[in-house]
Amino acid sequence: MAETGRLTAPAAPFANPVTLMRIAIVAGVLVVWEAVAASGLLFRDVVPSLLVIGRATAELLADKTYYWHLGVTAGEIGIGLLIGGLSGLAVGILLGSNKMLSRAFEAYLYYLGPTPKIIFFPVMIMWFGVGPGSKVAMGTISCFFPVALSAAAGMREINPVLIRVGRSFRASTWQMVTKIYLPAMRLPVINGVRLGLGVAIIGTLLAETKLSNRGIGFLIINAYSTFNMPRMYALLIVLFVLSIGVNALVGKLGGVDSIRRA
């Protein structure tokens, strides 16, 4: 008779040691935070009570003007991502498809990419004014580099057979881009867009904190100027959740996970 062994029921999600550890870490951080807030070790309001932060977050989310500022920032980031992403994609395809151009210009992109883009902000103000234009420009130059470099790398990884098939069908340049290149380099392009989105958010919001009268960056620096610490914490928490969420959403919509599993 075959030995069947003993069947054990799968552990309940809460009994999972990893989940328990996570709960313990979060609880520990919250307890330490509350203890520091109550102790008065730091200046008053620098570490406000969790209750105060929670109330500030609720007030922020119920505030209509917050959504208007969020809309302004989202618009600036969206336009920046569109312009920077499309131009980055075009440059990436060009560099990836031509060895000579790649060797001539890609080093410039590679080394310029990690430079701190915020230093260009005074120039962007001169060129596009103090309004949303300069913030869009900051978003654009921030996201251009990661998208261009990812697209160039993705272009080089395309199976040459696919390109030969396209050429044998006498596909036009536009058809080659839309039917061969883009579908074949979907993963690196999406990864580039994800990276680009992250730096576009940073570039745009930093520009807003420096010089603006609208947007989430303005709200953060305004909370700092008026020493409204609970509101600043609330803004940072909501912003972090939104940034990480949007980043994950782009990956999911692009099917990065499913591609990796395949």
Partner: protein, 254 residues
């Protein structure tokens, strides 16, 4: 050999030639009035401003201030980042519980916490160093874990066959094996730290090279502003080039 050098020379000439042509075209357009010279200064003016900015604005001192901030941020990254990475590698449960959080932190715009750091540490070098440190931390932690986890099993078995203690095993086997990957993490961390350091210097108008750009822009010294931006770009490029070479030297197989 000569043919290879010629093959490399052509793209290099094309890249440099295009850059020079772009500068010349800009000079001509601005001189002709097609581009407003009160918005974009002539490249010749920018080149002329270099010496003035270096001498009058004391660039060597500002460079040293930024370098000092970057150095302390790197020291913190090496000590804390590698330390946390080693801890997470050793304690599997802790790693499984927090690794996704560390990765999420890498995609969070932590630099936007600078007003918070201003409140905590004041308008000082500490704020700038801490902002650099926070920005680079996830990369160092994740790469340290990756490096340690990638140590070849046979090396660990050899160490165990020599009855090495856990501490000896770490310093003689794990650490040297993980060093190249750990350096990749440290390099990434240093890049993020430098970006944030210069950025925060610019934003809070304090410190070295970032503050210089802000100062010159507020004085509406356009050639000076452009020259300072070019200088920061040059410094960044040199920094990335050197660290890139060191990384390639450490990982010749890649």
């Amino acid at each position: 050999m000569i043919a290879r050098a010629q093959r490399n020379l052509l793209p290099l000439s094309l890249g440099l030639g295009t850059l020079i042509a772009f500068v010349l075209v800009a000079e001509v357009l601005i001189r002709a009035g097609a581009v407003n010279r009160f918005i974009v200064p002539m490249p010749s003016q920018i080149a002329g401003a270099f010496q003035r900015v270096i001498v009058e604005e004391d660039i060597p001192h500002r460079f040293l201030v930024t370098a000092r901030e970057a150095f302390w941020a790197t020291v913190l990254l090496a000590l804390v980042g590698v330390g946390i990475g080693v801890l997470l590698y050793r304690v599997k449960l802790l790693r499984e519980a927090t690794e996704t959080w560390v990765a999420a932190m890498a995609s969070a715009p932590t630099v936007l916490m600078y007003p918070l750091f201003l409140v905590i540490f004041g308008r000082s070098e500490t704020t700038i160093i801490m902002m650099g440190f926070v920005a680079g931390l996830p990369a160092v932690i994740l790469k340290t874990i990756e490096g340690l986890a990638g140590t070849r099993r046979v090396l660990v078995d050899v160490g165990r066959s020599f009855k090495l203690t856990e501490v000896q095993l770490f310093w003689k086997i794990f650490f040297p094996a993980a060093l190249p990957t750990m350096f990749v993490g440290l390099r990434l961390g240093m890049i993020f730290a430098l970006i944030n350091i210069v950025g925060v210097e610019f934003l809070i108008n304090f410190g070295g090279l970032g503050q210089l750009i802000n100062d010159l822009a507020e004085r509406y010294d356009l050639p000076g502003t452009y020259a300072a931006i070019c200088f920061v770009i040059l410094v960044s490029v040199c920094f990335f080039f050197v660290t890139d070479r060191v990384e390639k030297w450490l990982r010749p197989a890649d």
